[in-house]
Symmetry: C2
Subunit: 465 residues, 2 copies
């Protein structure tokens, strides 16, 4: 999908001077810095902003946005730049607000199991900070993303099946609106019926409605016991049926990840392992010692019923780390299948009853397309990805990959699913929203126009003007 590349807004010298009046020396117009801030980790074309500022406070962000609003200059918030659908490309130029220096944990409450952070705090930094409290924050996208970016993208990861996504784990936000006003979306109370759910409106809004400057998150107690296991299956259906029965049985599995044959082959080669080359589930269980044992035994029995011959335990922390490292390296392992190539990631999510069918049809379609693309999935949620390994110079192959992605999305939608489970829309998936939402997209457009009438907040993402 190609971006709308309207002529970028020119930033005048006076404007740059006014910006410098707000952020002082924390402003750059150098080409290298601008280029870096217009690019994410995706295959989508990037676009540099006209200037980059490094904000230090909500007040500074508000002052910058006010100035931009006065001059109708686009504003693009930037965390770690690890998004996957062109979210940070400055399609109409403007000012990139880099929040990486807003990286303080502002407060933590062990009693309330919550924490308030600035948007530049990354998920690993947060968990490092929390280590001595006995608490942790569970949402774990592949990258060590910023909490601000994860909130804006409605991110999830491997243990959403147990702990939820950013949707469930953000309690409250501080947001700078398109006119520079600062709002707090809600109190810290665990639940409330006091008006419209502004928190959830900004979670997943990808910078198009405002700039998130503080995030209050739910935390969880580090489980008393953790164990992990690996099980290979004779077929994808057998693996998925194991997942369905596990979820249906109410077993509070913390992680349940699927890797297909090709992906297993890739990680064996990449990490020097020797798992069977078969569809495989990686599990993790959290709870008390007895609870974890009970969960795992129940799941093992289910897996056995579906023909898994080798349910392997990893109870030692060291073995678990190795196992999950292999899972986290899946993308790099896939890339290593074709050195010199680039990855094109996909991300659909369907009701779990359609998951096996969706996976099999996708596997077949990929194989017929001749593209190398292992499949991995957060299958407890019905969410899976392929990484299509593409030669960057082969236009025809790239076109084929785009077609596979499009068919994959349309297949997911036809099965009652969504075009993106966790990566977001950016500009890469904007056109799919028409097929997914129909008339509801016009309601989203009304919201965008009400809150950002001049279309300065990350323009050209989610909603076509």
């Amino acid at each position: 999908m190609q971006p709308d590349l309207a002529a970028p807004v020119e930033l005048t010298d006076d404007f740059i001077e006014a910006l410098r009046g707000i952020v002082e020396q924390r402003l750059s117009t150098s080409e290298a810095v601008r280029e870096q801030h217009g690019r994410d980790e995706s295959y989508h074309p990037s676009q540099a902003p006209g200037a980059v500022v490094y904000a230090h406070s909500t007040e500074e962000v508000s002052a910058v946005v006010k100035l931009c609003a006065e001059h109708k200059v686009p504003v693009i918030p930037f965390g770690t730049g690890t998004s996957l659908e062109g979210h940070v490309a400055a399609l109409r130029g403007g000012v990139c607000i880099d929040v990486t220096e807003m990286n303080e944990v502002l407060r933590v409450s062990v009693e309330d199991l919550d924490v308030t952070v600035q948007p530049g705090v990354t998920r690993k930094q947060l968990n490092e900070y929390l280590r001595d409290t006995g608490l942790f924050f569970p949402v774990d996208p592949g990258a060590d993303a910023s909490i601000g970016g994860m909130t804006a993208t409605r991110a999830s990861g491997t243990n959403a099946v147990r702990y939820g996504t950013m949707r469930e784990n953000v309690l409250s936000l501080t947001v700078v609106m398109a006119d520079g006003r600062v709002i707090r979306t809600s109190s810290r109370a665990r639940k409330s019926s006091a008006g419209y759910d502004l928190t959830r409106l900004f979670v997943g809004s990808e910078g198009t409605l405002g700039v998130i400057t503080e995030i209050t998150l739910r935390l969880f107690g580090i489980p008393e016991a953790t164990s992990a296991a690996v099980a290979s299956f004779p077929s994808l259906e057998a693996a998925v049926n194991t997942v369905i029965l596990t979820i249906q049985s109410g077993i509070p599995v913390a992680r349940i990840e699927l890797l297909d044959e090709l992906q297993m082959d890739a990680i064996n080669k990449y990490s020097g392992l020797n798992y069977p080359k078969q569809p495989t589930l990686f599990f993790e269980f959290h709870g008390s010692d007895a609870g974890v044992k009970e969960q795992a035994e129940t799941v093992q029995a289910i897996a056995d019923d579906f023909g898994s011959a080798d349910f392997k335990w990893a109870t030692k922390a060291e073995d678990r780390t190795k196992l999950w490292q292999a899972r986290h390296d899946a993308y790099y392992a896939a890339m290593a299948l074709r050195p010199g190539c680039k990855g094109m990631t996909t991300d659909v999510c369907v009701p779990i009853s359609r998951l096996a069918e969706c996976l099999l049809e996708t596997r077949k379609d990929i194989d017929e397309s001749g593209i190398v693309a292992p499949i991995v999935g957060h299958v407890g949620d019905g969410n899976f990805h392929t990484a299509m390994i593409i030669s960057p110079d082969d236009e025809e192959e790239i076109a084929r990959a785009y077609e596979v992605n499009e068919r994959m999305v349309m297949r997911a939608l036809a099965m009652g699913g969504t075009c993106t489970g966790e990566h977001g829309v950016g500009y890469g998936k904007m056109d799919f929203l028409v097929a997914e939402h129909g008339e509801a997209l016009s309601v989203m457009r009304s919201l965008k126009m009400a809150l950002d009438p001049d279309n300065i907040m990350n323009p050209g993402k989610i909603i076509r003007p």
Copy 2:
């Protein structure tokens, strides 16, 4: 708080005839029917609509709303009328759309653990329907409310601490917008990052943004084992500290309800029981046989540490039913303390670290006010209620009760809480939103104006025009 009683919109004979063209004989303008539809279960003054229609389908609702939009006639959706803040009062007259005849379960998927219902299905009806599937829907406000009303009010209940509120348990909605357009807010996928979270925007919108005509809900497996327990404590602090440590320890308690001394006295008298007249916690545990036992033993140990001398088990279904019946009868038991009086319910929610302080100051304030008002609470969430038992003819006492409620709300807000944990805003709590949300209220107003520019959807609720 007094409603804005602008002159009700007059419904002309032509308009009524046009309405009858849509719903045929399912229309009433009789005074008795209109009066019943302008009243909820609260102490707030009621206001009858100009006409009541009994819709049978999304298409009918859409046609009625289109007609109302053409004539700028208010539309008020109506379920069971069990709201508590004047939600259904037709403050500016108009057409009440009664959805009680839209009461079908449209589909259920055991594999996906979800169900789609019409808005008039009540929570008990739904669970009755699900009985043979091994699944249940957990959200349980006091009344046997309609799922449509529960969605619109962002309702919760006794087991939100484990299963979440309507916010977490609605997957998707069909909504008739203020101009009659019909949208579906999202797919059935468990998670999605595909644009703005319209589902959460309509959950809790109290009919002010559109009429909900279909709801897809998450379901849960009926637990293999359930047990319940009762523990009394030497003080409110001891009880609340037990709650805090239980939640912190990650024990997935299904219910944890607080009843204060006065409430225990009331239920003893009302239900012929003989619990100690002390602050008391009612617990319920869900899981496997071993898991439930382990959870309950851990909680018992915590309660012992905080001075609970009598942790009583209720493992038999019969004993549990008796226990929870006593809890559900709390309101009626409170009313029985002063026969002939009316109840004025309150509903605040604070971070759990402030709960003991908030409860104690509230108890002291009530006692000093001379009002009879037992306290009950969904304390795992930091949410509690008082039922102030008031003589309906004593203006001075009513004024005192309003003041107690206002102080209770302001106290909760000062502690980082919310003016309503689960009852909603209606018109009864509209003015408190200024104190709770500040500038964010103007953002809510922008949303309302964007989606309902003529202010016909349940006008005078949540947002003052």
